[in-house]
């Protein structure tokens, strides 16, 4: 508020004629802004996202109810003008994908900063988290750290397809996916699983690491776990080929 007023005063002192008052004001205002930082609008508390520590919200708790309502609205939004269940799941998947890409960076950032938070330790032990190069390392990363980052616990199972025809298929199981806690799909959409959103996150993480993948979420209810969900991870041919090369080269 103070800055524009100041600018007006300047323009009055500078501008001779009263008619050209307005353009002067704009000019001097612009000049002032560009002096501080060109084209940048800083929040009122002068803190940009770069001034906030990334670990600030690390142990913060999030309201489950507000997440449920937010996710509910996301499902409702995705449901507009969809042609069918597959289309809806595709849209949810697309909503999750960019989140996966971002989480990957955050996950690694946080795991590096914890290890170096033991400040006394020498720099040789920094950056212990390694980028996953092999499928198994990647899946363990998803099953453990990623799930903990998202849901506060590890996933319930990690399996490899037993069928020899599909060696590229892996299954991650969550007995009670957090996103589906409050969701009951209508009977005519019984195939729908809104954890397609989580499947999108997994896909984003895999793609970000350089593993081309298709991930889908499937209902596999049991007596004990009515909303048990299996995430089917299907790696692309290029990934499988590289996997063979890396195995021969002894890369872990």
């Amino acid at each position: 508020m103070a800055a524009p007023r100041h600018a007006t005063m300047q323009s009055i002192s500078n501008g001779g004629t009263q008619g050209s008052d307005r353009p002067h004001t704009q000019q001097s205002q612009q000049a002032q802004q560009s002096q501080q930082s060109p084209g940048l609008r800083v929040p009122s508390n002068r803190k940009t996202i770069y001034d906030r520590h990334l670990n600030r919200s690390r142990n913060a708790e999030l309201s489950r109810a507000s997440f449920a309502f937010l996710f509910g609205e996301m499902v409702t939004y995705a449901q507009r003008r969809v042609t069918g269940i597959q289309d809806l799941e595709k849209r949810l998947n697309e909503q999750g994908y960019p989140l996966g890409l971002r989480l990957l960076d955050l996950l690694f950032y946080r795991s590096t900063s914890t290890s170096s938070s033991a400040l006394s330790s020498s720099s040789t032990s920094s950056s212990p988290p390694n980028r996953p190069l092999r499928i198994i390392t990647l899946l363990h990363l998803i099953h453990g750290p990623l799930w903990r980052l998202l849901f506060g616990r590890a996933a319930d199972a990690l399996e490899h397809s037993v069928s020899p025809d599909t060696p590229n298929e892996y299954m991650i199981t969550d007995n009670d996916p957090m996103v589906n806690t409050y969701i009951s799909a209508p009977r005519d959409m019984s195939m729908l699983n809104c954890a397609a959103y989580v499947a999108g996150i997994i896909e984003g993480v895999c793609d970000g690491c350089g593993f081309e993948t298709k991930v889908s979420a499937h209902n596999q209810p049991t007596e004990l776990w009515p909303s048990r969900t299996v995430f089917l991870v299907r790696f692309g041919d290029a990934v499988m080929e590289r996997e063979k090369v890396l195995e021969r080269a002894g890369v872990k």
Binding site: A68, F71, E73, V75, Y182, I183, S184, R187
Partner: protein, 171 residues
């Protein structure tokens, strides 16, 4: 108190327009009504509830303690505010419960006008706690479900499941 849940007979949820949106029995051997009769029951109860609310008696204000020098319009005020509900801060609730010697009907109305009718054994204690828990389950598994359309019949599998499980075993 193992008897607490056994005493719950059935539950009816009525939306704010008086339409039946949920009906479920928790005990075998109850007399069944036809769907139509349930709808009529819900509508009738809704009407009776509205009437009981509007006939809530007002009581005369005990002391017309208006300082006389406040304003010139003060003369009209005592005439209109001569009567008031006993507790003006609390909205008028209307029919709260209905008791026969075989069952007790408890009505709980939410802030948005949805009514929960719980039929219980007259001997069942702490009905309020049960209703509160049912309300909580409704808020969780019905209102947070993106596929539930407001004011429409409740068809949420998770709500049924959790409600049944809680009443059966208090998990």
């Amino acid at each position: 108190m193992p008897d607490k849940h056994r005493g719950v007979f059935s539950l009816i949820i009525i939306n704010k327009a008086g339409g039946l949106i949920y009906q479920r029995e928790f005990q075998a051997g109850l007399r069944k009504l036809s769907t139509n009769d349930y709808l009529v029951l819900a509508g009738t109860f809704h009407g009776v509830h509205a009437i009981t609310r509007s006939i809530t008696p007002k009581i005369p204000i005990s002391q017309p303690a208006q300082p006389p020098a406040t304003s010139s319009t003060g003369t009209a005020a005592p005439a209109t505010s001569g009567y008031s509900y006993p507790n003006p801060g609390v909205p008028v609730s209307g029919l709260d419960h209905l008791e026969t010697d075989k069952f007790r009907l408890t009505c709980f109305q939410t802030l948005t006008g949805t009514k929960f009718l719980l039929f219980t054994d007259p001997l069942t204690g702490s009905v309020d706690t049960i209703i509160q828990k049912i309300y909580e389950l409704y808020a969780d598994f019905v209102m947070k479900n993106p596929f539930y359309q407001i004011e429409m019949p409740v068809r949420c599998e998770a709500f049924d499941r959790h409600l049944g499980a809680w009443l059966r075993g208090r998990t």
